[in-house]
Structure formats: structure tokens, C-alpha cells
């Protein structure tokens, strides 16, 4: 058995319209690498042009944000769940005071 990766809606089309996919790997980094290998169309959502994980991606392992675990080095067991979600942010461009 391999870790299960739960995918947000935009990535489902890259995984045969499935909301989850089993991906082999012993760390989060391994799993992401394998996921992109299996579903190359997922790469633009997850990786920047340098191949690093985009800043606006949230990754959880068993409901815990990997930022409070060991990041991409977080180790995974065969029954672990990896959840990928967008980190949404934005706003108007200017940071000046509001127009009158």
C-alpha cells in the first residue's frame, strides 16, 4: 500500500478525474515528484519554473500542515494521507491609503 494523495478539483483532471490517487514515496517530496511524473499536467499547479514547490500550495499530512512537521522531508507511511490545497491570497495592487 502507498500513501493516498487527495487532490483539489483543478488537479483531478490530471488524475483521471479521481479525487485521490495512490502514489509511492517515503517522503512528501518523493510523493510530489512521483505525482508530477504520473500526471505532468499537475506540474504547473505545484511547481515553479525552477522545479520548487510553489509558495501558494498547502500540503497536509494526516490533517497536519507540513510546515509544522518536517516540510517536504516529512516521512510517510503506507497508510498516511497527503492533502494538497491551494493557498489563496490577493488583493488590490496599491498599499497606499484608500482613495477619497
Amino acid at each position: 500500500m502507498s500513501p493516498v494523495v487527495h487532490l483539489p478539483a483543478p488537479l483531478r483532471a490530471t488524475a483521471a478525474d479521481s479525487s485521490e490517487i495512490q502514489v509511492t514515496g517515503s517522503t512528501v517530496s518523493d510523493v510530489l515528484t512521483e505525482l508530477v511524473r504520473l500526471s505532468p499536467n499537475a506540474a504547473p499547479y505545484l511547481l515553479d519554473p525552477e522545479g520548487c514547490v510553489r509558495r501558494y500550495v498547502n500540503i497536509y499530512v494526516n490533517q497536519e500542515d507540513i510546515r509544522v512537521l518536517e516540510g517536504l522531508s516529512t516521512r510517510l507511511g503506507p497508510h498516511d494521507e497527503v492533502i494538497i490545497l491551494p493557498a489563496i491570497a490577493g488583493g488590490v495592487t496599491t498599499l497606499t491609503s484608500r482613495p477619497a
Binding site: 478539483a9 504547473p44 497536509y60 490545497l85 493557498a87 490577493g90 488583493g91 495592487t93 484608500r98
Partner: protein, 150 residues
């Protein structure tokens, strides 16, 4: 592509924008995504707007952020309702409902982004946008208002 959204959902977004003015509001849009093919225009149907806390730590009148924990909760709620998170909304206080470079840098393709303009007097009309797959720009979506929730 068309965004089908209920009048009550639009009203809920505008009320949220007014309630937190002059700060930006934000929330998730739950619904369904139509089949995308060349035979028929794709449609996103919004069933529910979920108001969320703006998690930006400063400049909240010009910035919004949705925390990961809120994202996780929305994903669970959508799954429980047999829906998907198909987009997000936020407000632009005293600015037009047009995506900014900041919005573009931090958005994901596929999701629809609804923006509401809001002033001290009223919340204006909404506009809906979709980020191109190459992230080069947003494309505006047609909004189809429906009386009853789909």
C-alpha cells in the same frame, strides 16, 4: 465559460463585503464544474458561498489571505455536500472588481474568482474571472444569475 450563480448567493457576497468594509472580505465558492469540451460552453455552478476570515496579518484593506486550515474545512464541507470548491471570492474596497497583479500572482488556474467592488455607501456588481492555464492573464466569465439555487 459561464458562471451560474444564485441571486441569494450574490447577495450574501455583497453583504459580506459591506460588513467588513473597509477591509477586504473573502470566501470560498462551493458548487459543480461542468464538462469542458468543444461542444458546449463549460459552466461553473455556484451553490453556496462560504464566508471566511481574512487571515492577512496587515493591510487588510488591500490584502486578503485564506488560511490553510480554512481551506481544509471548506474542502471537508464541500465533500460532505457532494460538491467541490470551485472558486473563491473577495472584495476590492473602493476599487473596481478587476484582478490585480497580486491576485494573478497568487491565484490558481481552473478556479473561478469572483470580485466585488464595495464602497462606504454600497456594494457594487460582481465580476468573475478565470486565470489562464499559463497564468498570463485572467479571462472574464459571463455571469448567469439564477433565481433559485441550482
Amino acid at each position: 465559460m459561464t458562471l451560474a450563480i444564485g441571486v441569494a448567493t450574490v447577495d450574501a457576497i455583497r453583504v459580506h463585503a459591506r460588513a467588513v468594509y473597509p477591509e477586504e472580505c473573502c470566501g470560498a465558492l462551493l458548487g459543480t464544474a461542468g464538462i469542458e469540451d468543444a461542444q458546449a460552453p463549460a459552466v461553473r455552478r455556484i451553490v453556496r458561498a462560504v464566508a471566511l476570515e481574512n487571515d492577512a496579518t496587515d493591510n487588510r484593506h488591500r490584502r486578503f489571505r485564506i488560511s490553510g486550515d480554512q481551506q481544509l474545512a471548506c474542502q471537508r464541507l464541500a465533500a460532505a455536500l457532494s460538491l467541490d470548491v470551485v472558486g473563491f471570492y473577495h472584495s476590492h474596497p473602493d476599487h473596481p472588481p478587476v484582478p490585480s497583479p497580486v491576485d494573478r500572482a497568487r491565484a490558481w488556474p481552473w478556479y473561478c474568482f469572483v470580485i466585488a467592488t464595495v464602497s462606504a455607501d454600497d456594494a457594487g456588481p460582481l465580476r468573475a474571472w478565470l486565470l489562464r492555464d499559463d497564468r498570463s492573464d485572467f479571462v472574464e466569465l459571463d455571469i448567469a444569475l439564477i433565481e433559485a439555487e441550482p
